[in-house]
Symmetry: C2
Subunit: 264 residues, 2 copies
DNA sequence: GAGTGGTCTAGACCACTGT
DNA sequence: CAGTGGTCTAGACCACTCC
């Protein structure tokens, strides 16, 4: 059993303090106060506070005050939605518009969305994208970046998707940022290109947020990011879209249902 | 753009050093050497090394030397295997035995497995298990804990599964630890209880390893853990098994294929 | 027992926040 | 501008590993 450093025990004591005396949103004692209260040096107290921030229990930027973190509303994303989205494609636009596909795609309730911006570019395909889409490395692709910011430091998300330019160019409307979010979602967009979707593959991994993600979004450092690489295949067998979807793991859950054939 | 601390720039410089001058498995310079080389204090160099250990680039315990980490062999776990496993249930035992279900379940190649131990207990159901299995909180369940250790500090894994005691008790062989791993896997075990599996749900999240997991397994601190809560449903609609499967995220990828109905 | 990584105290400095 | 969190240097001590 490794002997825990003093700051780790301190952090545990502070965590108990949070549970017993404080409520989410409360201001946390300052570092000097904590140092005196626990009889340690200011540095040690500061380290313990950092540790708890990394664990997602406290929040606050350097220079500002420290707060007991308000745990984010948990969100769920289910793969059963794929079939529902496909069924929706053949329905009239009014119905498509009311079904919140974009909301589901980001895994975030629209009621908490503060700002939603889309950016569309035509760029050279990164190697990993070219490999999946089976196009030549550096071939043109339509890259669509969607950023969502939320109220009250509840986080943000930034997803990127790639379509082969050669496919997307059949429908110029897809390049228009102002048409985003598209009623009916990506599945309907592909339909306008004459593409029927055969299956979706979700490749799920996790990793720590990059320094960029920590800085630009409100992901607490120390909270991992679930990364879903979503690949859409057409009935022709070809991969027609790749999307990289990051979900801060302290609020997201991905649910995949795999139905099995009956023996009968 | 937040100004990076000196130790972060230092860590970046060291990372470049790893990429250019060193190979995986090489010994990394000691902290005093690094301090002199980069003209900083020993403490700062030590912190940068810690940072890189948390990123998984370096490895080594306190007191021992530091090494350039050998990246673990990536493993993939696909939900398409569920159907294959179900098909296997009706095949003869010899065939079942040769198909490496247990290997797939852990997401780890058997060639790297060093030790494999199983422990079976009858315990009171934890609340979250009782809720999923729709049994009374505290009702008896068969808990099966499987631990795999690997060579060369490549990590370990520890999965837990729960079956309602009332179901499992129909087949006493399920309580026998020496019969693990069971040829054909859980799906065949359920078959011996007269249960046909209707569908599997995988609930995927991620979080940091607990202090226990870091200590007892060889997960580098800072590497997140993909957590798959796998729920098996019988054709009766009832949840018959819950399993908690942790995958160190620096080597695991979960792939979920969702086939969609054709319009035709 | 020498060397190593890790941590604590101490004092100083900096950037940023809030008022 | 005062207060706050964060970091660097400095020196010391400890537990552990390796020989």
């Amino acid at each position: 059993m490794a002997v825990a450093g003093k700051y780790q025990e301190l952090a545990a004591a502070m965590a108990r303090l949070v549970e017993t005396e404080l409520a989410p949103g409360d201001q946390f004692p300052t570092v000097p106060e904590l140092a005196e209260r626990f009889g340690v040096h200011r540095n040690t107290a500061s380290r313990a506070v950092q540790h708890l921030k990394e664990q997602g229990l406290l929040s606050g930027k350097g220079g500002g005050k420290t707060w007991v973190r308000v745990p984010p509303a948990p969100t769920v994303r289910r793969n059963t939605r794929y079939q529902e989205e496909k069924d929706l494609v053949l329905r009239p636009e009014a119905e498509r518009r009311s079904c919140g596909v974009a909301e589901w795609e980001s895994g975030i309730s629209l009621t908490t969305v503060y700002e939603d911006t889309a950016r569309h570019d035509v760029v050279d395909a990164p190697d990993w994208v070219a490999e999946i889409l089976e196009i030549e490395p550096g071939a043109k692709v339509l890259r669509r970046t969607r950023t969502r910011r939320h109220r009250k430091g509840a986080g943000a998300s930034c997803s990127v998707s790639y379509l082969p330019y050669e496919l997307a160019s059949r429908n110029p409307e897809l390049f228009d940022e102002s048409r985003d979010p598209w009623p009916g979602g990506t599945m309907h967009q592909l339909h306008t290109l004459g593409i029927e979707v055969d299956r979706i593959e979700d490749h799920v991994t996790a990793s720590m947020p990059t320094d960029e993600e920590v800085a630009e979004q409100d992901i607490p450092p120390g909270v991992p990011v679930l990364r879903d690489l979503k690949i859409t295949y057409a009935t022709s067998g070809r991969a027609v879209e790749v999307a990289a979807l990051p979900f801060p793991a302290d609020r997201a859950k991905l649910v995949f249902v795999t139905p099995l054939e009956r023996w009968s």
